[in-house]
Subunit: 146 residues, 2 copies
DNA sequence: AAATATATTGAGAATCAATATCAATATATG
DNA sequence: CATATATTGATATTGATTCTCAATATATTT
C-alpha cells in the first residue's frame, strides 16, 4: 500500500475519524495527478469513474488531507484554491508564467534563510510562507516577439 | 492638489477616459486610508459620506487605479482582494500574523536579488512577485502562553 | 447481534466576492 | 447643437466554497 494511504489512515484513526470509501477514493484520485489540482478538478475526475462523490465531500476531504500533512494549498491568484503533493515533495515555491500559466517549482536556500531572519527581526515566529514569482517564460517571450 | 490625483487625471486623459466625480471620490477615499482596504470596505465608507456610489463602480475604479500604478493588489489568502498604496510606497512584502491578522511591511534586498537570479536561471523574465511570510507576532505568542 | 451513539455523506440551498448586463445619464467632440 | 462615446448604478449572474440537514454508514455498548 502506498505510504500516503497509511499516513492518512493513521491520521484518521488518531483523530477518531473514520476511514471511508469516499476518503480513500479522493486521496487516490489526488495521488494519481502530478500537477496542481482544484477540488473541482478532482470532483470532475471522480464523477467520470464511478458512482459520484458529492462535491462538498471533496472539499471537506481536501481539508483533511491538508491537516494530515499530505497536501499543500497553493494560490496563484485566480480565485481557485489548488492543491499539490506534500509527501516526498519537499517545500518549494513557484515561478508562474503570466503568459501560459506554466509553473516551475523552485527553492533557494539563501531566500529561505533570509526569510527567517526578516521574521526574527520583527519578532515574528515564522510558521510558513508563500512566494510566487511571476513573469514570462522563454516560450511565451518568443511567441509574442513574432 | 495631491500628486496622486494629478497622476490619475493624466492617466485618464492619456487613455481617453473621463475624469468623473465617482472616480475622484473613490481615489480620495482610498488615499485617506492608510491600511489595506477591499473594494467592499471603500464602498461602505463612501456610502456613509454621501450619495451612494454603486459598488460595481468601486470595483471598476480600483482596477483603473491599479493600471495607473497608484495601487497594488494584495492577497492574504482569505478570499478578499485588498489594495495598498503604491505611490511613494516602494515595493515591499508582508509579514502576516496568523493570530491577529496584523501585517508588517518588509523588504530584504538579498531576497529581491535572489528572486531575480532564480527567475533567470529558469529563463523567466520576472515581472513581479508576491511573498507572504506567515507566523505569530510577539503579542499573540504571549497571549497564548498564558 | 441488537441497540445506541456518533460520524459521514450528498443534494441542494446559501454565501460572498467579483463580474456582466443594460438602460439611463453624463461627457466630449465635430 | 447634434452625435458619438463613455460612465454609471441597479440588478442579475457567475463561480468557488461552505452550510444545512435528513438519510446513511460506522463504531461502541449492552
Amino acid at each position: 500500500m502506498k505510504r500516503e494511504k497509511e499516513i492518512f489512515e493513521k491520521f484518521l484513526s488518531d483523530q477518531h475519524l473514520r476511514d471511508t470509501r469516499q476518503r480513500e477514493m479522493i486521496l487516490e484520485a489526488f495521488l494519481q495527478r502530478e500537477e496542481h489540482v482544484s477540488a473541482e478538478d478532482l470532483y470532475g475526475l471522480l464523477k467520470k469513474k464511478g458512482p459520484a462523490i458529492g462535491q462538498a465531500t471533496v472539499y471537506r476531504v481536501m481539508k483533511l488531507l491538508v491537516e494530515a500533512g499530505l497536501v499543500r494549498e497553493v494560490d496563484f491568484g485566480d480565485g481557485v484554491r489548488r492543491y499539490e503533493h506534500c509527501y516526498n515533495h519537499p517545500h518549494h515555491d513557484h515561478l508562474v508564467c503570466r503568459g501560459c500559466g506554466k509553473t516551475v517549482e523552485v527553492v533557494d536556500p539563501v531566500i529561505e534563510e533570509m526569510q527567517k531572519k526578516v521574521a526574527e527581526s520583527h519578532d515574528f515566529e515564522l510558521t510558513d510562507h508563500e512566494m510566487y514569482l511571476y513573469g514570462f517564460c522563454a516560450d511565451c517571450r518568443n511567441k509574442s516577439a513574432k
